[in-house]
């Protein structure tokens, strides 16, 4: 007993409580957030100050130019000419119809509007993963809609007057060109990608040659070929619509990029999938259609959307062979003497940039959303 006592005496036993550590730094509220994200250290503070100056130096003049000092109303250049420090939105407002429809005749513009609605009816359910009838939807997007809207826009049947493609223009034409480009480049790209991975050497060479040549040259030269060389290549007198030639050039160009994206997807499919499909007795096309392509295309949806974004931006180049898409329609209106002021070009270009930006940013957000949704399977 005494032994125990003496033993416990030599043990160190704390007599008083340890001092409480200080409460953790506040982590909520404006000031702690700023301290963490803006003024973490001396260097950070300097960076923040430089950043703030930079942001103010850009944002303030831009806002002033585009909003506070802008001319919003007016019927001609008189309204904008005296104002050299602000945008001329009256110009955009006055030409808005032209920017959207080009020279499409006024009484027929409802046809373009109906096409926009039909397009939305196809694209929106397609983009929502949980929407039903995907197969039917695909049929609509790739076959029914193009045929329907083609008849509607060109006219010449059901009592609709013909509207020549030379009158098409503006955002509407940009959408037509990019839609056809997308709808054509995807299947073409799949065929080229399959050809490039084929075991038949000649098929492979032809596909590789086509893909590499298209990817190696600028789009402008491809469009020049479609615009200038194609009429030379065809028998004398045979000629087809300028718009069709532009679409052909753009689709083939985009198909080459698409093929490389899809090839990436094909390469990512494990060999076992091919072997499993073959051991079930499936032939090449059945195997591709049922087993390989559904998986490969799903993997590369972000890449496909990126190619679509590139294609959408590239439509601004078809003006080279006098197809008056949005950007060219906008540029063309700068020369209109009714509206020629020093701020007109910048205002018009900013408007065009915003339209392009909205579409491209929307697509890139969608691509990000799909990427995140698809990655769920790989999360642990």
């Amino acid at each position: 007993m005494t032994d125990m006592q003496s033993q416990t005496d030599v043990f160190f036993v704390r007599q008083e409580m340890v001092q409480a550590s200080p409460p953790p730094m506040r982590v909520r509220g404006v000031w702690p957030w700023m301290r963490k994200n803006l003024f973490g250290s001396v260097g950070d503070t300097i960076l923040s100050i430089i950043g703030a100056i930079l942001a103010l130096a850009i944002v303030v003049p831009v806002l002033q130019w585009s909003l506070f000092n802008a001319t919003w109303t007016g019927d001609n250049r008189e309204a904008c000419a005296p104002n050299t420090v602000g945008a001329c939105w009256a110009f955009v407002k006055a030409n808005f119809g032209q920017f959207i429809y080009g020279r499409y005749p006024d009484p027929e513009r409802w046809r373009v509007n109906v096409t926009f609605v039909l397009l939305a009816a196809g694209i929106i359910p397609m983009a929502i993963p949980s929407a039903p009838f995907k197969r039917l939807n695909l049929l609509y997007v790739f076959i029914i809609f193009p045929v329907l809207s083609g008849c509607l826009l060109v006219g010449g049947m059901f009592g609709l007057p013909v509207v020549e493609t030379a009158l098409w223009g503006g955002l509407f034409l940009t959408l037509v060109v990019s839609y056809v480009g997308m709808a054509m480049s995807l299947p073409l790209g799949i065929i080229l990608a399959l050809g490039r991975r084929s075991k038949m050497p000649i098929v492979q060479w032809v596909c590789v040659f086509f893909i590499e040549v298209c990817r190696g040259v600028p789009l402008i030269t491809v469009l020049f070929m479609a615009g200038i060389l194609l009429p030379l290549f065809l028998p004398t007198g045979v000629n087809f619509d300028k718009l069709v030639r532009a679409l052909l050039g753009l689709s083939l160009f985009a198909a080459a990029y698409m093929a490389e994206v899809i090839r990436g997807g094909l390469q990512a499919i494990p060999k076992g999938q091919y072997e499993g499909a073959k051991s079930l007795g499936l032939g090449y096309w059945t195997m591709m259609r049922l087993i390989i392509l559904p998986q490969a295309i799903t993997i590369v949806i972000p890449g496909i959307v990126n190619t679509f974004i590139g294609l959408f931006k590239d439509t601004s180049l078809v003006y080279i062979i006098s197809i008056f898409e949005l950007l060219y329609t906008v540029r063309n209106s700068f020369t209109d003497p009714v509206w020629a002021t020093s701020t007109t070009p910048a205002s018009g270009l900013l408007f065009a940039a915003l339209v392009f930006w909205i579409f491209c940013f929307g697509m890139s957000r969608y691509s990000k959303f799909t990427e995140d949704r698809l990655r769920v399977g790989y999360k642990r």
Partner: protein
């Protein structure tokens, strides 16, 4: 067994037209015939069409006098031949491409690193920049600089003066032009020589460090050698470099160096536009290096700068370089947008050549040869680079 065999005999698999080898040969023959046939048909039509229009094919037109002039770096004039004009266009393409690549790389690197900053403001500015420029066509950026910014500058009479000999107007940026003296080649030789010496010092310092562990400030010494040797020779040769100043006349500014608005807008637009893509490449490259690498390097006692230089960057570069190279190729291809503002690049000159001559096939062939040649060179360089830096796995 016999039953199974009997079943096999009548199986459709054994029909000759289902034989994979036969099929593959047939498909390939059909493809060859189709491709060759189409090309032959096109060629035949082309020959007929050209004969009807009275255009002689071939490259003979290259030696003829062009009769038009464009502002180029090669001082072309209206007496130049078509061939020389095309060469000038080629040189212009290369010059603007190299300069745009340089500025896009620097800007892209800065923005890419800024996107990973822990500072919220810096990160947000970089994100806004990238998301804005990535989602608009490059042509809009070019036109914005050209029509929206540079064209609104004052005309030459009331040009904005920056310092005594620099001026800014809607005709471009005017600045003094350096004129090389007769002895300037000596300075260049001295510069190259000093670089070689500095490199030798660096090698010696590295070898000594490996052998003895002693450090040597080879960077500073090298810089000193280059500055002292080149500067010394520069002064010793006596005034090898003079400046030709731009002189204002009544209607124009002559002499000196002029940066045309066409060049400036193309260069700025391509730089600013492509920088947003390069920023994303840099960001993804740095993010691809796992956190464990940084931690392990710290655990070995490396300082922050060394962690970045010796551990993170070499691994990030492996991810960054291939897409970066294709971005450089894109810049070069995008210089063809020059045609929209009238900068005399290969495509714009070609366009001017094919209109009067009708030699469209030859001009397109020249374009194709240049751009395809360039892509092949870049992809070969990439393959070499990839093989060199590929992970050596055991």
């Amino acid at each position: 067994m016999a039953v199974a065999d009997a079943g096999r005999i009548s199986s459709p698999r054994d029909r000759w037209y289902n034989n994979p080898t036969v099929r593959s040969i047939a498909v390939q023959i059909i493809l060859i015939v189709a491709v060759v046939g189409t090309i032959a048909w096109f060629a035949n039509n082309t020959v007929t069409n050209l004969r009807e229009r009275g255009i002689a094919s071939g490259f003979d037109f290259l030696g003829k006098r062009a009769g038009f002039d464009m502002t180029t770096f090669l001082n072309t004039n209206s007496e130049s031949t078509y061939g020389y004009m095309l060469l000038a266009g080629l040189v212009d393409t290369i010059i603007v491409a190299i300069l745009a690549i340089a500025i896009a790389t620097v800007l892209g690197l800065v923005v890419g690193i800024a996107r990973l900053s822990s500072n919220w403001l810096i990160r947000t500015i970089a994100t806004v920049y990238v998301e804005f420029f990535r989602n608009i066509p490059p042509l809009i950026v070019i036109l914005f600089w050209y029509l929206g910014v540079l064209a609104t500058l004052p005309n030459i009479r009331d040009a904005i003066q920056i310092g005594p000999d620099f001026s800014l107007s809607n005709r471009g940026i005017f600045m003094p032009r350096p004129v090389l003296g007769p002895n300037f080649h000596i300075v260049i030789i001295a510069f190259v020589l000093s670089l070689v010496i500095a490199w030798a010092v660096r090698r010696w310092a590295h070898a000594r460090r490996m052998a003895t562990g002693q450090g040597f400030p080879s960077g500073w010494v090298g810089l000193g050698i280059v500055v002292v040797l080149t500067g010394g020779v520069f002064l010793a040769t006596g005034d090898p470099l003079t400046f030709e100043l731009p002189v204002k006349t009544r209607f124009n500014i002559v002499g000196g160096w002029t940066v045309t608005p066409e060049f400036a807008s193309l260069f700025l637009a391509l730089g600013v536009y492509t920088a947003s893509f390069i920023a994303e490449i840099v960001r993804s490259g740095i993010m691809a290096v796992s956190q464990g690498q940084t931690e392990a390097a710290r655990a070995l006692g490396l300082r922050d700068g060394l962690v970045l230089r010796l551990v993170v960057l070499p691994q990030a570069l492996r991810v960054i370089i291939p897409p970066l190279a294709s971005e450089y190729l894109n810049i070069t291809k995008n210089t063809s947008l020059a045609v929209a503002v009238g900068y005399a690049d290969l495509v714009a000159v070609g366009n001017n050549v094919l209109n009067p001559t009708g030699q469209s096939i030859e001009v397109v062939a020249v374009w194709m040869a240049f751009y395809l040649g360039l892509s092949i060179i870049i992809s070969l360089a990439m393959n070499w680079f990839n093989a060199r830096i590929a992970l050596t796995e055991r």
